[in-house]
Amino acid sequence: MSFFDDKQVRLNIDRLPIAFDDYGFDRFGLSKKALIRAYSPVAYLYRHYLKVTAFGMEFIPRQGRALVVANHSGGIGADAAMIFTSLILNDEAPRLGQGMAEYFLTRSPFASVALSRLGHLTGLPEHGEQLLSDERLVVVFPEGAAGAGKLYKDRYKLLRFGTGFMRLALKTGTPVIPCAFIGGEEAFPQLFHIKWLAKLVNGPFVPVAPQLVLFPLPVACQVYYGLPMHFEGDGSEPDHVIQEYVDQVRASMERLISTGLDARPQAFMFEKMRGSKEDTSR
């Protein structure tokens, strides 16, 4: 235990429904120590910098497989970090969200190790299946990296969804929990992308926001989780059936987004949103 460890993070990580071995690793290379180390500073940002409020945490199951499907925004992955943190800081049922990482990250040095220690595997359908069969909670962004790279003028517009997540959910009999992240587009309003630099670093895009640094503005953000959706099937359905299911998820995410946008008093909000049922700023 170190001085920088966050107490709530440490307690909740100890309660995760995941089997760790003698060295504190799980069977996918996830490390307990790395989790505490990484989530502690992020929890500080969660409470005091981005002042996140989470709604609908009661829809997150205490244990067992689940697929959280969220909108992507804000270019630099702050939205994903905050969604994962909201799941860890949920005292009722702390869960570790495991993401499907971008290919270019899992082949780069340091990033690949960090991702694997935090439980984010390369975005392969096999990995999703392995995690869900191991009763994990997987977080996916069906818009893909392109969703994160939305410019400010296109804020909160959902792009085309991939359908892989729905086949995965059907094949493994997993409930889908729609999720909306509000505030990401204001915290990092993307004006344009530097294309040649993206090509140089072999990444999907390099965004530029008014703050000029790759760090979000202290805009208050909110996370909304929706009612879990159960779909009947085994994943071998024809594309048009899958597309219909995906559209249902998309529609409920759009509802959550518009609820969230209506609920906040103004877009650029620098105070924590009031009227939240639970207070996570301990």
């Binding site: 071995d21 690793f25 290379g29 490390s31 290919y103 082949r107 390369t122 392969l124 096999e126």
Partner: protein, 303 residues
Amino acid sequence: MKILITGISGTLARGVAYRLVQRGHQVIGIDRRPWPDVPEGVEMHQADIRKRPAEDVFRTARPDALVHMATVTHFTTGTEERYRINLGGTRKLFEYCHEYGVGQSVFVGRHTVYGASPDSPLYHTEDEPPLAGAAFKELADLVAADLYAGSALWRWPEIDTAVLRLCYFLGPSRGGTLASFLSKTRVPMVMGFDPLYQLMHEWDAEEAITLAVEKRLRGVFNVAGPPPVPLSTVVAATGKRGIPIPEPLYSSVLGRFGFPYLPDDAIAHVKYPIVIDNKAFVEATGFEPRYSAKQTMEGFRWN
């Protein structure tokens, strides 16, 4: 049962021979290398599997089962010789099995045949093609031998063939691929990478092979024990020092400065994990490892 073990003087094979003798089987061994203190119940023939004396063992002893463990790696053998032993030898042995009515064969291969790559799934299943040969030419012969052994299932359907893809093992004999990698006090790691390594105790590996013989397995099976651990943990737990080396310099330090020698292509296996799913093997045999990863690695610590 009369069981013929090829490559019997090898580290794992001796253990398998002991276990089979203990369970009341008659064991015959073939190896080029001697086994001086060969135990009672093992009939040892010092011969080359590709030469006539080996065929004569099949002809005169008429074994019921073959356990083929006479394969070699780049750690010990040059390229041409490796192809002769791994491919030529495997082919010859399966032909003898067919010719002399051996009803069962077990090919003991390696899990490294799947290859290490950042965009392959973590838990490899048996239905995935072994891709190591493309990226790691020193493994191409072992991949080919593995596939050839698998082809015996349709080529000679009367033989119950099991192809085992064994993960790394560590044990008191200090033999095996991983032990060679950890043989020096310094272990070369690639800076910024720390892949998962899957290892099991040598004795568990011996037990798994013995079970595969006794249960008369048919098909391709991944054989692994406890869940994988990161390479840095393997290095620390076995009392070694991991030295992170920037990737461009990696191949030039191998074999120098107290580092073990590895072929250039081996770098992928130090950067990315090869982890296998042993569900099918466990279901078929009820195999349960006796030693955890921690016990295995700490048991390997003595110098």
